[in-house]
């Protein structure tokens, strides 16, 4: 009987999720329609590429953030782990003599290590995610400044590294000049979605997010799974750091602070509520697109920056409010 209940609740969940996805799609479509009418330069191939490209870096963070939010927490350190890993990557290539693939692998390991620190602080030492990840956020920020010696590390096309984000594999395959960074974001979105939806790990994340205590009682090693959630987020931060460094062909220790907030906003806009137990990667992709389209559209309309900020804030509040209200009504 119990299994029946969970089954039906999963069904209800997926139905709710579908509705929420639909809502995000509609928001996005409405925005695209509006900006296309308002600016003739908005819906051009080059501008769409620009939007997707600028989405891909915060997008990678948002993918990782989705895991932590579904598990009932969040990771405030993602933005500065992005800067720290970017700086480490550039140093590894320029100063430590690593080959590009080894440097990339090393960077991912470092990102995972930051995640491991977050995870252990939260699961074993029982710190709240806010405190644990805030602390690691500061540690990563300081490390980025120390390792970079407070300067921009210029890679200067070394080993073709800038081609990783800026080159276009698709151009040679199908003749469309779509930069790799967009492709990489989409590939990781697919991977992230498979993990969250189809894997045991994913199922446990939802279980822990909806009720950690119950999951523990039913024999789940919640500590280890929770740690793995933050390791995953750390890896996504490192991926963001790698893409940022490649796109700018340099590592900037000052870049990244505050990106975690954009990531959280995108996740929430995509219908994954803070608090855990629900959400999806595809919702997050939509949320990231909504943010990207909004920012680019306002720029294309030459809206003054102060108004861009205000409008973005208001839209986040509105969108989440409408989504939440619809959800409580259904319940």
């Amino acid at each position: 009987m119990e299994s029946k209940k969970t089954h039906s609740s999963i069904q209800a969940n997926s139905k709710k999720e579908l509705m929420r996805k639909l809502f995000a799609v509609l928001t996005l479509a409405a925005m695209i329609a509006f900006f296309s009418l308002a600016s003739k330069n908005f819906l051009t191939f080059k501008n769409v590429v620009t939007i997707l490209q600028s989405c891909s870096i915060t997008g990678l963070l948002a993918l990782g953030m989705t895991f932590t939010i579904v598990a009932g927490g969040y990771d405030l350190s993602m933005g500065t782990v992005l800067s720290a890993t970017g700086v480490i990557l550039a140093n590894a290539i320029v100063n430590w003599g690593f080959s590009v693939p080894v440097a990339i692998l090393f960077t991912i390991v470092v990102g995972a290590a930051f995640g491991l620190a977050n995870g252990l602080l939260i699961s074993k030492m029982k710190l709240q995610p806010f405190i644990a990840t805030l602390g690691i956020m500061m540690v990563a920020k300081g490390l980025a400044v120390i390792i970079s010696k407070a300067t921009v590390i210029y890679i200067d096309g070394y080993g073709g590294f800038s081609q990783l984000a800026g080159g276009s594999v698709l151009e040679s395959l199908i003749g469309l000049k779509i930069p790799n960074s967009i492709l990489i974001f989409l590939v990781f979105a697919v991977i992230g979605s498979l993990i969250l939806k189809k894997s045991i790990f994913g199922r446990y994340i939802f279980a822990i997010g909806s009720n950690e205590e119950a999951s523990r009682m039913s024999g789940l090693n919640t500590d280890n799974w929770m740690t793995l959630v933050y390791v995953t987020a750390g890896i996504f931060s490192a991926l963001g750091g790698i893409m940022m460094t490649s796109r700018l062909d340099s590592a900037q220790p000052a870049i990244g602070s505050g990106y975690e907030m954009d990531a959280i906003a995108a996740v929430v806009l995509g219908g994954t509520p803070l608090g855990g137990g629900e959400g999806s990667i595809w919702g997050t992709v939509l949320g990231v697109l909504v943010m990207g389209v909004l920012l680019n559209g306002l720029r294309m309309l030459s809206v003054k920056q102060e108004w861009q900020t205000i409008i973005t804030g208001v839209i986040i509040i509105l969108a989440v409010y409408v989504d939440q209200r619809r959800r409580t009504k259904k319940d």
């Binding site: 080059k46 620009t50 500065t80 407070a150 921009v152 700018l248 340099s250 870049i255 720029r299 294309m300």
Partner: protein, 355 residues
């Protein structure tokens, strides 16, 4: 027990120093703001007045005056050059220098004011401040002045009339210089866009306004189509400049008001394959910018002289404290120059640039 003895010795010395200072300031009030305590009250008898120094040990002789400097950060070499200039001046006068800035996570005026207030407790002879916010820093400057501490500003000005002197780039003149070069390069007509850091920091605001005002006054056929801000994030500047390139088909030039703005601008024009179509003028330096100037991606950039900002402000502070010399002008230009492919490798320009 050892520690407690140390402590009581320290307390004794402190009291002695305070008494001494009281007597001395009463006698030499006309001379300089006195210097009762040192910043680092360590184990040794660090609490000496300048006058006591002569009587005690000669190892303390370099600590005769203490200059406390407050910059905006350390993420750019720019700040390092400021500090080097200050150190050079302080070495000339045998002054002690501390150089502090809020860490990268607290790049704001409140964090800076906290640092300054903490330093005031260490009784510095003079403060050198490059503030985040010209208005918000004013009360702190007034508070320090009331305490008898001379305040100088460098790099960024303040809205306080209590400062003794300011040493920085005349940013409006620098902005106007950029405008003049831009107008010349695009043939005195067409559309240009600007990317700057923010709308509140004095420096970036003046660099923008100097440019805008020059164009309005001298170039009726040049239209500034857009001004956006990147919050000192090269990636945001990249996105902004890309949207300029896509949105304004007839764009003739982009003016970037900082290093991060310029770096994003250079990347944008390369990504969009538009090198040569649009005249780029940047601000500050760094390896990426120097490279772009050498290979022709960017026409040139305005550079400030951070070393001289630091050197001149610290020198003025030492002169004021030690010899009572008041700078003739309150606002002093520490100099700026437009560097291009042609002059980037001359010694005088290289001295102002950093990697």
């Amino acid at each position: 027990m050892k520690a407690s003895r140390k402590l009581s010795t320290l307390a004794l010395l402190l009291t002695a120093a305070m008494l001494f200072t009281l007597v001395f300031t009463a006698c030499t009030k006309a001379n300089t703001p006195a210097e009762p305590t040192e910043p680092k009250a360590d184990t040794t008898a660090a609490d000496t007045t300048p006058e006591q120094t002569d009587e005690t040990s000669d190892t303390e002789s370099t600590d005769s005056i203490y200059i406390a400097a407050f910059s905006k950060g350390f993420q750019h070499k720019f700040y390092v050059s400021e500090q080097e200039g200050m150190q050079a001046a302080c070495d000339e006068y045998g002054a002690t220098l501390t150089f502090e800035a809020p860490d990268a996570s607290n790049q704001n005026i409140n964090a800076q004011i906290e640092l300054i207030e903490a330093a005031l407790g260490r009784n510095p002879s003079a403060l050198l401040i490059a503030s985040f916010d010209a208005t918000a820093i004013a009360p702190t400057i007034e508070q320090a002045t009331e305490q008898g501490v001379a305040v100088f500003t460098f790099d960024n000005t303040s809205n306080s009339d209590k400062i003794v002197g300011h040493y920085g780039t005349d940013c409006k003149a620098a902005g106007a210089l950029a405008a003049e070069k831009m107008a010349e390069a695009i043939g005195y007509e067409g559309e240009v866009a600007i990317v700057s850091i923010d709308q509140v920091s004095n420096g970036p605001v003046d660099r923008r306004d100097g440019f805008v005002e020059y164009m309005e006054a001298n170039c009726p056929n040049i239209k500034i189509v857009d001004i956006q801000y990147n919050a000192d994030d090269a990636l945001k500047s990249l996105d902004i400049c890309t949207s300029y390139l896509l949105n304004y088909e007839n764009l003739k030039g982009i003016y970037a008001c900082s290093q991060s703005c310029s770096e994003g601008m250079i990347q944008a024009i390369e990504e969009q394959d538009r090198v040569g179509d649009v005249v780029l003028i940047g601000f500050d330096s760094g390896a990426i910018m120097q490279n772009a100037v050498r290979n022709g991606t960017m026409l040139g950039a305005i550079t400030q002289d951070p070393y001289m900002m630091g050197y001149l402000s610290a020198k003025a502070a030492c002169e004021y404290v030690l010899n009572g010399v008041v700078p003739e002008e309150v606002i002093n230009d520490s100099g700026s120059v437009f560097y291009t492919k042609d002059n980037i490798d001359t010694p005088e320009v290289q001295k102002m640039l950093y990697e």
